[in-house]
Amino acid sequence: MKILLIEPCFAGFLTAIYHAHYSHKDADIITSDLNAPSFLDIQVEITTDTVLAARVRSGIIKRAGTVIYSDIAHAYLSCQDTKEKILFAYTKLVLLHGRAAYGMYQMNEVKEFNDLLQKVRGEAHRFKGFLRFKELKNGIYYSAFSGDNDIIELLLPHFRARMNAEKFVLHDIKRHKLIYYDSQICHYLIAPEEYSVTLSDEEAFFSALWKDYHKNIAVEGRLNTDLQRQCLPKKYRWFMNEF
């Protein structure tokens, strides 16, 4: 088998798509996993090339439109280690059939891709609701979170639209990624391992009101914590102040 070994980034993946289309037409696998190749495989290291990546990007957009392109880009944010395999298969299908690939629900490639994308988008959607901001002493709204997938970029436009006159921080604890929006522009930073924040005076007041509200709005006679856990799994609760 011929394996294209890439750097673990989306531009690297797109570069490999370019090579798989032109110089390595017989490539079977694209992966960033250094342990993937075995003794019998032919391994080709692909250097990320932003120019080639940009060409593939416009190629996909021309062939299949921006919706499918952003589907692919978003699915790449997945944490699943089979994502490159799934995306490679789907991208080939897209380059072959264009927009029509979208509706080929009976194909394995499409099913696996949709499942992958759904997991990323679904998680991003949940975080739009479950994320919690705390007001800091300096007026910045700070949120710490961590998702299974690398969704910080998917959350940013949502909160920038919503809080466009505010200053806020999105902090992905697990990946040490931090985006600071200063009410005008976004700053992408690498978060320190150790950090501490000082809360504003009002923070405890609103937090307490919210905790009470969360408790009081439930109808006592109809407790259903199974359903609650199903809709809001425990892994999200550590950053939500009502739990």
Binding site: Q106, F130, A161, N164, H214
Partner: protein, 416 residues
């Protein structure tokens, strides 16, 4: 009374309201303003009863001059009373919204002093929130029946969604159980709002007034109306009043009165009404097709299966050729699957395997379709299919009706 205490009381009064949806509106960011709204809505938390919290659901006041028998806020009930000032409420909303606790506000109120006075305060509050606090998040406002149409119209300018509750499915029941509420006082503003909504769609389609539309809610099982009557009323509300949504809440006895039934209705009834409601809104059914006026929906079998068995002569349909509208009528095939089937079959004939890959569940559908000419159902007469489908639902673990997250609250409404 301190503000935490008052918020608690006003939350208690609002929590039996069913709707907590933040969907249907699209508000983009505006420089210097706070908030946006997306058509799909967002859930921000889930309570211990499994319901979603999307909006801050609260009453402005629970001091009511009305005495509706079914309501916990009615005048003669001895509960603590409280109210918030518009400013207090606005600050609460903004504080919650900036911390991403909520998607917006669902504001309602008991009738304090008079309907007009109450409506005025509500309008003033939402106006303040939109103008002084520059809030662009979702607002769902309750309209107060009996208030002047001009006032309700004015209030509706500031909100995404407005709703007046029908409360009971017939004039007779309304007269009996909520004597201070007149049918015309509820329907007249609803008519006015639907006209506003339609007119603004034609005149300025980009700036639709009440973008998330109008909804209503009624109590089921407190009065003798049949499901057939309720579905016809619902159909009328969708056809003639352009409602976005009708909510049903199974009556639950919060008080004893000889005019009210002592036992609550079977919760499955509410569930079946919602099924039928979905069929009206997304599947192209009409109430008249679903059931005769004097009948109730079957509790043991879902509405679509029941309908399909009663109309068995139009089945089986071939998955590979049936048009979209007919696919929608197959039990077990929903809007998404019907769409997927029509898309996928452009690229080749579908077999059982392909359908599995597309996540089409054939458990019920297989009695009503052929797949590539083959019929897979274990029974082929209406009678046998009915037994077989009911057998399936019987052998399944007892259904948890509370899992129907959309429309969960089967208790009664606690407002006005």
């Amino acid at each position: 009374m301190d503000i935490g205490e008052r918020i608690k009381i006003l939350t208690e009064g609002a929590k039996y309201d069913v709707s907590c949806s933040s969907s249907g509106s699209r508000t983009t960011a505006k420089r210097g303003y706070l908030g946006s709204a997306a058509p799909h809505g967002v859930c921000h938390s889930f309570t211990a009863d499994g319901r979603c919290i999307s909006l801050l659901k609260i009453l402005l006041s629970n001091k009511c001059v009305y005495d509706c028998l079914y309501c916990i806020n009615r005048r003669t009930e001895s509960i603590p009373r409280a109210s918030l000032t518009p400013k207090e409420l606005c600050e609460l909303v903004i504080g919650f919204y900036k911390r991403n606790y909520i998607e917006g506000l669902f504001l309602s109120s008991a009738v304090e002093v008079s309907p007009n006075r109450t409506m005025e305060t509500l309008a003033q509050t939402v106006q303040m929130l939109r103008t002084e606090y520059k809030f662009r998040g979702y607002i769902h406002l309750k309209g107060i029946p009996g208030a002047d149409n001009e006032l309700i119209d004015y209030a509706s300018r500031w909100v995404d969604r407005i709703s007046l509750n029908i409360e009971l499915p017939s004039e007779k029941s309304l007269l009996l159980l909520a004597p201070q509420k007149k049918k015309e006082a509820i329907l007249s503003p609803m008519r006015m709002l639907s006209q506003t909504y339609i007119a603004s769609q034609i005149e300025r389609p980009k700036i639709i007034k009440i973008p998330a539309g109008q909804t209503t809610q009624m109590i089921v099982g407190a009065s003798p109306e049949t499901d057939g009557q309720i579905m016809r009323l619902t159909q009328g509300l969708y056809d003639h009043y352009r409602l976005k949504r009708v909510y049903y809440s199974a009556y639950s006895p919060v008080t004893t009165n000889s005019l009210l039934p002592a036992v609550p209705p079977d919760l499955r009834r509410e569930h079946r009404l919602y099924e039928a409601d979905w069929l009206l809104r997304f599947y192209g059914y009409k109430a008249e097709e679903l059931l005769p006026i004097n009948r109730n929906l079957s509790l043991d079998l879902d509405v679509k299966s029941d309908w399909a068995i009663n109309n068995f002569n139009m089945f089986p349909l071939e998955i590979n050729t049936a048009p979209y509208e007919l696919l929608l009528r197959v039990p077990g095939i929903g809007v998404r699957n019907a769409y997927r089937i029509t898309e996928a079959r452009k690229h080749g004939r579908l077999d059982r395997d392909a359908l599995k890959k597309m996540r089409v569940v054939l458990k019920r559908a297989e009695y009503f379709v052929t797949i590539n000419g083959k019929f897979f159902g274990a029974a082929d007469t209406p009678h046998k299919i009915r037994n077989s489908l009911m057998g399936k639902s019987l052998s399944a673990p007892p259904p948890k009706y509370k899992q129907l997250g959309f429309f969960d609250e089967p208790l009664i409404t606690g407002e006005f």
